[in-house]
Amino acid sequence: MDNKIDLLKQEIKTKLEQTGSLGDLDKIRVEFLGKKGSITALLKGMKDLTNEERKSFGAEVNKLKGYAAQRIEERVAELKQKEIEAEIAAMPQFDITTPAPLERGSYHPITLVQHQCESIFESMGFTVEDYPEVVTDYECFESVNIPKHHPARDMQDTYYLENGQLLKSQTSAAQNAILRKYGKRMMENGVPIKAIFPGRCFRNEATDASHENTFFQMEGMMVDKDISISNLIFFMKTMLSEVFQRDVKVRLRPGFFPFVEPGFELDINCEICGGSGCSSCKHSGWLELCPCGMIHPNVLREGGIDPDKYTGFAFGLGLTRLAMMKYKVKDIRDLNSGNLKSLSQFTDDEA
């Protein structure tokens, strides 16, 4: 009988060694350990043995059973391991250095710059106001202290429409409406007027690489009791430092704009040369960037606000100019061309 056990043990050993697949292993398991398997059969043949013999033979068979089960498990583990190894070996090395296809959507560069400016002002509690492009003479001129026949109307060649309305030549056309919209809340509840109003403006002029008849500006204003020139300079400097992501130096010069008094031209130190003078700043070290000033009392009055009680500042920023500066766009006409060769490059807002 012992011989039988040894033979079986040998057979198990050989078969396991010859087997290469997990499926075959399962067959082996059934062949030896199944209900009708050879080891089970050994146990069935024990009824002819004496009690003594049965006891020792039973122990031997159980040992064999244990051995078979263990060897099968080991072999399963081995084959599983081999399978993983084969899978690993089968994995080719990819060339990760091939260029990634980056075709994707894009924003208009003005949108990017506009969002950047908007978020700066929103973070300082300014509202962003939208305003129509077709406005009345009153909105664009009368209400902002530019009466009929004022020379300032000559300074901008305005597109008039057949019905007497016009395409707004300046974002200031929104000033009166904004003063009226928020004035009451300021006077009754002490909420200062803080608004920016980006928008598209139009000038009747011939276009070339640096002139457009359609361009974007962003105007802003703040009105409250005791708003001062000192505040104006602070906000301009802070805002521009955020826009340009550096500590800009600003310089104010007197400037004449009918809707402000005093009015200023604001220059920033040239980013290209850092102020030492280069061709970009015409060797002055300064770039003229935005007109600003204290809102003219007539403009406040026309907006229903008492200029003896309230003061405010206003400023204008050329969004088109900012975008051109930021992205070094040389031909302003690219912006309205709709040409995706130019425009598809502006894929994300870095602000």
Binding site: S106, P132, M155, L161, N163, K194, N339
Partner: protein, 788 residues
């Protein structure tokens, strides 16, 4: 406008001060100075007065002469000179060996075989005029060898002020006004102008002069005779030249000089031609020849200076050719006047002729200057031509006087406006230095604005703030933030919708944002066979291609699709822009902000592309509003839209836009092989739809149950018609339906619809779902929708 520091220094003593630094300060405090500052004479040295002692013809050249010149040294110097005007005894400017003329350094050199030790110079070569017709003819009695810079004011610092920055400052159109600013900036005195006392001639007869038109504010004139001088003093010519004017003759130069000095334009008439001065307009248009020889059309709005009824000058713009000073003029009539600024400006525009005079008059000159200018003119005239005789009394009609501007404000006002502390003393001193009369009692300032600032420039207290702060210097401001209370900021829905839509279109659908113009592009649209929709037009478009305001953005966008054919086989563009859809009851434009999207594809079938766009719109509605779109077939009115598959887009039952396919005729003109679809959404209508909030549903613990049916859908029946069948039943456990398959043959169109049932309370039984489905199927059958 060019300004000479020498000239300004006539009125302010700058001893010990850095003039260039002051110019920069002027730029920051008064008006923009152009970057380049001209250091006149700085590149000129070694030029002296030389007397020509002998002139011989050059043996080798017909043009050249051999000269011997005396430059005050023991030896005469040999010079070869090509100028035509050489003569013995003439004094000229001579550049010695070693002299510098700009880039050139003078060295001995042979000219056609003869050695030349130096060079006789023209005025142009010295940079003091543009005359290079011959060498300089020095008439002054001066020792030979005198340095030219000792003789003439060649050295000067000249700077240019941007005229635009002087628009509101009529007082700064002459050197004296500029000098007043410099005096204030430097903290120095402004010297008074030296003038002739005109009262001395009061006994003389007056000129026959009368203002007959309110557009003339003041007219002053004086007659003088016995003017013998013809050529202006060199120093005067140099100043004029440095300031951009060329010498003409003494009288013309002197009027120009006065204008550049005081900002007051003046004119000199031949008294024989203007014995009876009348200032008026004419009833009828006529032509008039100005002194530049041009015939100009004068209309009934143009103010004229007349000799009785004969026009002799266009008021404030230019004199006439007929009354100009000529060689045999013996008596002249000097005019110094002011006119209504707006009228001069309009006349200038009508005549398309802007002059140095009109440019100044447009700015509202101070009428107080008129008589002073004559007194100053006479002073200079007599200084340089002592025999001049005044033959009339000053004749001066002052028809319109500006009101004196008096302002009152207190220290608190200044503090509030500036946000910094500026002392009462500083305020008083600053204003006084600018010519304001200031009285301070306690903290209250009473200010009288000087006449030269009171014509329009300084009228309110805020103007005073500018005067104080600009001289104080904005660079000296202590800057700080505001102390305003904080309140939440509510963004505008249209704006937030717009931003979100842009993000979705760019980030999720890879579309490209473009910008376009608000008017229809005639030429481009014509090329695509798209008719420009009649709409309101620009009244003053200079380019007929951009005349009509667009009604829709789609035609514009199709032009831009055309631009990008070849960019990629598939692309999509979008823009949020404006259109004018019509006129309201008050004849005002109805302007709308629209979102326009166009998809172009060479690879996708038209249906696929159309549905891609439909899906984009559906996602926008679902994402921003948590609502579903619906569609209604519409018949397009515009020729560029395909008559099939044009749909009105509805949200909350309200029309918010259109989706469609480009008409094949237009499409083929854009690209024969591509499909193009478009949509246009009204941003305000979209924003007006209320945002439904997300209603959270607890995930069911019980298994859901799907039930698929395949039905044959007759032509013309839409899915929305089918959906209506079960939607109206309000089946609580029916969570959603979707199409999982479609099957089309020649004979029928079939869809497989999956119904998803689920309950949060219990496990659904097959029987109850079957019952519901049987009911639905029965209803569908009634609409001729049968199971396949």
């Amino acid at each position: 406008m060019f300004l000479s520091m020498n000239w300004i220094s006539d009125f302010v003593d700058f001893t010990g001060l850095d003039k260039v630094a002051l110019i920069h300060q002027f730029s920051l405090s008064t008006a923009e100075v152009e970057n380049e500052i001209f250091y006149k004479g700085s590149d000129l040295s070694g030029v002296v007065v030389a007397e020509i002692k002998s002139v011989e013809n050059h043996p080798e050249s017909k043009k050249l002469h051999l000269l011997k010149v005396d430059i005050g040294e023991p030896e005469l110097i040999d010079v070869v000179c090509g100028a035509p005007n050489v003569r013995v005894g003439m004094k000229t400017a001579f550049a010695k060996v070693g002299a510098k003329l700009g880039e050139i350094e003078i060295a001995p050199r042979p000219l056609a075989g003869a050695m030349s030790y130096g060079m006789c110079c023209s005025e142009a070569e010295l940079g003091i005029s543009d005359d290079h017709s011959g060498i300089m003819d020095i008439t002054e009695d001066v020792a030979n060898g005198t340095d030219i810079k000792e003789l003439y004011a060649v050295d000067d610092i000249v700077f240019e002020v941007d005229n635009k920055s002087l628009t509101n400052r009529p007082d700064l159109w002459g050197h004296y006004g500029i000098a007043r600013e410099f005096a204030a900036l430097a903290g120095r005195e402004l010297k008074p102008l030296a003038v002739e006392d005109l009262a001395a001639y009061d006994a003389l007869q007056k000129v026959d002069m009368k203002i007959e038109d309110p557009l003339c504010q003041r007219y002053a004139c004086l007659q003088v005779e016995n003017i013998t001088r013809n050529i202006s003093p060199m120093n005067m010519l140099i100043r004029l030249y440095y300031c951009g004017m060329r010498g003409i003759n003494f009288l013309a130069d002197l009027t120009n000089y006065l204008m550049l000095e005081m900002g007051q334009p003046m004119h000199a008439f031949d008294s024989r031609k203007v014995g009876k001065i009348r200032i008026k307009r004419f009833d009828k248009p006529f032509t008039f020849q100005t002194l530049d020889g041009v015939e100009r059309n004068i209309d009934e709005n143009t103010l004229m200076i007349c000799n009785d009824n004969t026009p002799v000058a266009i008021a404030g713009i230019m004199g006439g050719l007929d009354s100009e000073i000529v060689e045999d003029t013996t008596t002249l009539t000097l005019e110094s006047a002011t006119f209504d600024a707006a009228s001069i400006r309009k006349s200038t525009v009508r005549l398309a002729h802007r002059t140095d005079a009109s440019m100044r008059y447009e700015k509202s000159l101070d009428p107080e200057m008129c008589d002073t200018a004559i007194a100053r003119f006479l002073y200079l005239l007599k200084k340089y031509d002592s025999g001049v005789k005044v033959v009339s009394a000053l004749t001066d009609e002052y028809a319109f006087r500006y009101e004196t501007v008096e302002l009152r404000f207190d220290k608190a006002f200044v503090d509030r406006y500036t946000g910094i502390e500026i002392s009462n003393d500083t305020i008083v001193n600053t204003l006084t230095s600018l010519g304001f009369k200031v009285e301070l009692s306690g903290d209250v300032f009473d200010v009288v604005v000087p006449s030269w600032r009171a014509t329009k420039d300084v009228t309110i207290n805020a103007d005073i703030i500018e005067e104080i702060t600009r001289i104080y210097g904005y660079d000296n401001f202590d800057v700080h933030t505001t102390r305003s209370p904080l309140y939440p900021v509510r963004p505008d829905t249209v704006k937030t919708d717009e931003d979100k839509i842009k993000d979705i279109l760019v980030k999720r659908y890879d579309l490209h944002e473009v910008h376009s113009y608000v008017w229809a592009y005639y030429d481009e649209l014509k090329a695509l066979g798209i008719e420009v929709e009649p709409n309101i037009k620009l009244a003053n478009a200079t380019n007929p291609n951009i005349e009509t305001i667009r009604k829709s953005m789609i035609p514009t966008q199709l032009c831009q699709v055309k631009t990008n054919v070849g960019y990629a086989p598939d692309f999509g563009i979008f823009e949020v822009g404006r259109v004018v859809t019509g006129m309201d009851d008050n004849n005002l434009c109805v302007e709308k902000k629209m979102l326009a999207v166009s998809l172009y594809s060479k690879t996708a079938e038209v249906k696929e592309l159309y549905f891609k766009l439909r899906d984009i719109l559906a996602v926008l509605a679902d994402d921003l509003k948590h609502k579903s779109l619906s569609f209604e077939a519409s018949e397009p009115k515009q020729g560029y839209i395909h008559p099939v598959n044009c749909n009105t887009v509805l949200l909350d039952g309200k029309a918010i836009g259109t989706i469609g396919i480009v008409h094949p005729e237009v499409g083929k003109k854009i690209d024969k092989k591509a499909n193009i679809v478009f949509a246009e959404i009204d941003m305000q209508a979209f924003a007006d739809v209320k945002n439904a909030s997300i209603i959270y549903e607890e995930p069911s613990k019980y298994p859901p149950m799907d039930y698929d049916i395949s039905v044959v859908v007759p032509a013309g029946v839409m899915f929305s018609d089918l959906a209506e069948t079960w939607n109206k039943k309000n089946i609580g456990i029916l969570k959603s339906t979707k199409i999982v398959d479609t099957y089309d043959t020649d004979k029928f169109h079939s869809v497989t619809i999956r119904f998803e049932f689920s309950s949060n309370e219990r496990t659904l039984s097959s029987a109850e779902v079957q019952e519901i489905m049987d009911d639905i199927i029965a209803d569908l059958k009634q609409s001729n929708v049968t199971l396949r």
